[in-house]
């Protein structure tokens, strides 16, 4: 406790920096290891929060998915277990929790380049998207956006054009958007759990799958599927969410600290993401991985037109605003 003498000491900045709030530790779940783009983004967020709060708010990052998959973690947070306060998720993960707006971020070929995504992430539309789960009554809210690069298909056999993917068994997550997209390009979406994917590629149960470049390498998929076609069907948009419960426990100053650290981490993510990805791409090329550039994206866009239309009808106007932000 503070003695009366201490309270009279003039320290005007203290109140505003949140350093006199209650000491608090927030558990932060991260599915990937700390050395990935998203792991580093989380670390920077943690360091900034702890710096700004003078160590009063501690962030305990539990990485590598030890607290469960994205859906496990979201179920834990939305169910009010109090065991996980913050987590980094892919923006799309909120779709099965009524996240109609965040779903738009992973509609195939929405973002033409990174710049386009960051135009959105720094616009006034972003806070509206981030607050969607809170307004839906899901009990979580977004703090900031980031990205882990465009997602591309990779295959066991060489693939040079979209035509080459036709008839291939491609492993994608089991949601309607991704399944619709794979069907659109004439391939077969195949259900294989992520844990069995490496073996499934090795033995040939599936012919290919899709991941951002960095994850492709960090999961060692390039060892068994050494062909990647840079079609960039979706941008791996990520966001960091916090439970309303944890948010409400914070003082207004502490909330500001989280938001400021979020802006900082978001900017950091923007800075390293492309750089880290290019580095990985060079490493892959040096290892002899066959990387195919896609010069004309129109046939791909044409192929998935229907699924894009079907998945965006509910929010057509909003989706158009996203598309127009390039």
């Amino acid at each position: 406790g503070q003695t009366p003498e201490e309270t009279t000491t003039e320290e005007p900045t203290q109140g505003q920096t949140g350093q006199d709030g209650p000491e608090i530790t927030l558990v932060y779940a991260e599915v990937n290891p700390l050395d990935t783009i998203v792991g580093q983004t989380g670390t920077v967020f943690k360091e900034k929060v702890e710096e700004l709060s003078g160590g009063k708010i501690k962030i305990d990052i539990m990485a590598s998915g030890v607290l469960g998959s994205e859906n496990d973690v979201l179920d834990t947070m939305l169910g009010g277990g109090g065991t996980i306060d913050i987590s980094r998720i892919s923006a799309f993960a909120l779709t099965s929790y009524g996240g109609e707006k965040s779903k738009l971020l992973s509609i195939p070929f929405t973002f033409v380049n990174r710049e386009h995504f960051w135009n959105f992430a720094t616009s006034d539309l972003a806070p509206e998207f981030l607050l969607e789960p809170h307004e839906n009554g899901s009990g979580v809210r977004g703090l900031f956006y980031g990205e882990e690069g465009f997602r591309h298909f990779f295959t066991v056999d060489e693939v040079n054009t979209m035509e080459d993917l036709r008839g291939m068994k491609l492993r994608v997550s089991n949601d309607p958007v991704m399944n619709g997209m794979v069907r659109g390009i004439g391939a077969d979406p195949t259900v294989v759990s992520f844990g069995e994917l490496y073996s499934a590629l090795q033995t040939g149960v599936v012919d290919g799958a899709e991941q951002p470049i960095a994850n492709y390498k960090s999961n060692a998929f390039h060892e068994v599927a050494p062909n990647m076609i840079l079609n960039g069907h979706t941008l791996g948009a990520i966001q960091v969410v916090i439970t309303d419960e944890a948010w409400d426990k914070l003082t207004a100053e502490q909330q500001d600290i989280l938001m400021e650290a979020g802006r900082y981490a978001s900017a950091f993510n923007r800075e390293i993401s492309e750089e880290a990805e290019n580095k990985v791409l060079d490493e892959l090329k040096a290892e002899g991985i066959n990387i195919v550039e896609v010069n004309d994206i129109t046939p791909w866009q044409e192929a998935v037109k229907d699924v894009v239309a079907a998945e965006t009808t509910n929010n057509a106007e909003l989706y158009q605003r996203l598309v127009d932000m390039q």
């Binding site: 939305l78 779709t95 099965s96 009524g98």
Partner: protein, 177 residues
């Protein structure tokens, strides 16, 4: 005293019936799970057999139901793995007392599972759906937990009753299976 027990004993056929019904459900679920998995595999190679995106999530939910329902059956069969290494060194009365204690504790756990499991399933159900089936509420993913609680409570009540009956009638707790 034995009159009371004789009256309550009349409920035993109802228990036998419950056991059979739960067993029936477990068997059906196991068949469904094997069937769906096989269908998904063959569907990859045979065009007219479906290979639906929901196969994995449905299989897992069915298996969760099988797990919790069959576990309640194991309570009745006294089949759950427990440490019995020191049984031969312990007096018989103490073992009965410990069994009773364990059964009461599991009954309490069953009640906890009903209460928090239901609350959780309803909350998550109102907030989310299956990834592969946007129209199916996540409630069904977590409903096995309160259901398990109910099944546990039902069979634990019988086990506890049998202990008490055994103590009062000074006879071995009869083995009902």
């Amino acid at each position: 005293m034995s009159n009371i027990f004789n009256t309550i004993d009349k409920i035993k056929p109802a228990y036998d019936m419950t056991y059979k019904i739960v067993l029936f459900i477990c068997k059906v679920l196991l068949i469904i799970v094997i069937f769906i998995t096989t269908m998904a595999v063959t569907g990859r190679y045979v065009s007219f057999i479906p290979d639906p995106a929901w196969s994995e999530e449905v299989v897992l939910t069915c298996m969760a139901f099988t797990a919790v329902l069959s576990a309640a059956l194991a309570i009745r069969r006294k089949a759950h793995i427990r440490m019995t290494a020191f049984d031969k060194y312990l007096p018989k009365k103490l073992i009965v007392a410990l069994d009773l204690l364990a059964d009461v504790a599991v009954l309490a756990l069953g009640v906890v599972m009903i209460v928090v499991g239901w609350r959780y399933a309803v909350l998550l159900g109102s907030r989310g759906s299956y990834v592969s089936m946007p129209s199916v509420s996540r409630f069904w993913m977590y409903f096995p937990v309160p259901l398990a609680g109910i099944a546990m409570v039902i069979f634990e009540l019988e086990a506890i009753y049998n202990h008490i009956r055994g103590i009062f009638l000074k006879e071995e707790v009869y083995n009902e299976c």
